[in-house]
């Protein structure tokens, strides 16, 4: 387990700031606008994982961390843990294309699971539709909304690698509320079956997808197609 603090070639620290799936309020943005010059920051960089890395002199680290915490932000996580969750703005108020309220779901997953230890880094991406703006196929655990109450889950994706691969579709059209049961099961199974520092895609490659699957009838919640069949016959 570690914090997202990276010593750069020129000696300054790159410190990753984590937010609820990339969402930053105007007040936080203004606060960062004041804080960065105060601590002598050289600049900042938005990352592909919806965090912001700020480049600061090493001696300013404590002041910087206290400053971001005052703004309700924190230093991100790094290493063999569940990383911060990438969540798209798919919800009832933002993206027009979203099929379900996934932004809230992504934030909840991050709050519950971020920084939990795993055999290798474990990345989660949540998208509100198949356009997949958060690259759910490239995550260890990718979630895509298929309707207001349903999602599908892809397991074992890996983006940044010499051998990138897409996740395999593991759960089709399951009730949204069952996602926590599925994620608990996937993490437990991964911890039990993975070899040392083995990425999920390799564990799946060795033992297959089956141990990671919970049968649909054992998942909590209901899906909507049954409702349509009733509606059709009414």
């Amino acid at each position: 387990m570690g914090k997202a603090i990276f010593k750069q070639r020129n000696g300054v620290l790159g410190v990753g700031i984590v937010t609820p799936c990339g969402f930053i309020t105007p007040e936080q943005l203004c606060g960062l606008g004041k804080l960065l010059p105060e601590v002598g920051a050289l600049g900042s960089k938005l990352t592909t994982r919806q965090t912001m890395v700020v480049l600061i002199p090493e001696e300013a680290f404590d002041r910087f961390v206290a400053g971001i915490r005052n703004l309700g932000l924190d230093v991100g996580v790094f290493g063999d843990v569940v990383r911060n969750v990438k969540g798209c703005p798919g919800n009832g108020e933002l993206c027009h294309r979203s099929l379900g309220n996934v932004f809230e779901l992504a934030v909840e997953i991050q709050q519950q699971y971020m920084n939990q230890p795993t055999p290798h880094d474990f990345k989660i991406s949540v998208a509100g539709c198949h356009r997949g703006c958060t690259d759910p196929h490239c995550a260890d655990f990718g979630v895509i909304a298929t309707g207001p109450k349903t999602v599908e889950v892809f397991l074992g994706g890996r983006g940044g690698s010499r051998r990138p691969q897409h996740g395999q579709k593991a759960y089709v059209n399951i009730p949204k509320e069952s996602i926590f049961v599925v994620l608990d099961h996937v993490l437990d199974t991964y911890r039990k079956l993975a070899e040392d520092h083995e990425r999920l895609c390799n564990t799946i490659g060795r033992v297959g997808l089956d141990p990671f699957i919970i049968q649909a009838e054992k998942l909590p919640g209901t899906v909507e197609e049954d409702e349509f069949a009733d509606f059709l016959n009414s």
């Binding site: 993206c95 979203s98 099929l99 198949h130 059209n173 899906v223 909507e224 509606f231 059709l232």
Partner: protein, 149 residues
């Protein structure tokens, strides 16, 4: 794949409602064995439940319905449906509610479903290939609707 607030099925629903005479003409309403009844149900489900896809919807289409429908009305409805299509290309989903209604119209018009590749332009070419006369009328109606709306 499209979002609920992008689809406007109100007009299509009204059209289908007018086409379905609820047993007044058909001596025995076959309900979900009838293409129009099914399409009408999909449209009203979208309007009440605000969904964009119906899982397994494609498998539920009553494609054994061999009744003859008014060609003009079917083409008109198909043109309306095409207008709601979002050209989603790679993200096309067979169980999309628009696709379901379109497929019902295809069975009624052509006796079979046409391949849909997520693009109205490609679709109009397919319709033309399947039946030149119907394809030409459909294209003209679609373009006319696009111009006036």
């Amino acid at each position: 794949m499209i979002a609920e607030n992008e689809i406007n099925l109100q007009e299509i629903h009204e059209k289908l409602n007018n086409l379905c005479l609820d047993g007044e003409v058909c001596s025995n309403c076959e309900k979900n064995k009838c293409l129009i009844f099914f399409a009408k149900k999909v449209a009203s489900y979208v309007l009440t439940k605000k969904v964009t896809t119906i899982r397994q919807g494609m498998a539920m289409i009553p494609n054994h319905d061999l009744k003859t429908y008014s060609e003009d009305d079917m083409i008109e409805t198909l043109a309306m449906v095409l207008q709601q299509c979002k050209d989603c290309r790679d993200n096309h989903d067979d169980d999309c509610t628009i696709n379901l209604i379109r497929t019902c119209m295809e069975y009624a018009l052509f006796g079979d479903k046409l391949p849909y590749q997520g693009s109205v332009t490609l679709y109009l070419l397919e319709a033309q290939k399947s039946n030149g006369r119907v394809g030409d009328t459909l294209k003209a109606k679609y373009l006319n609707r696009k111009k006036t709306k």
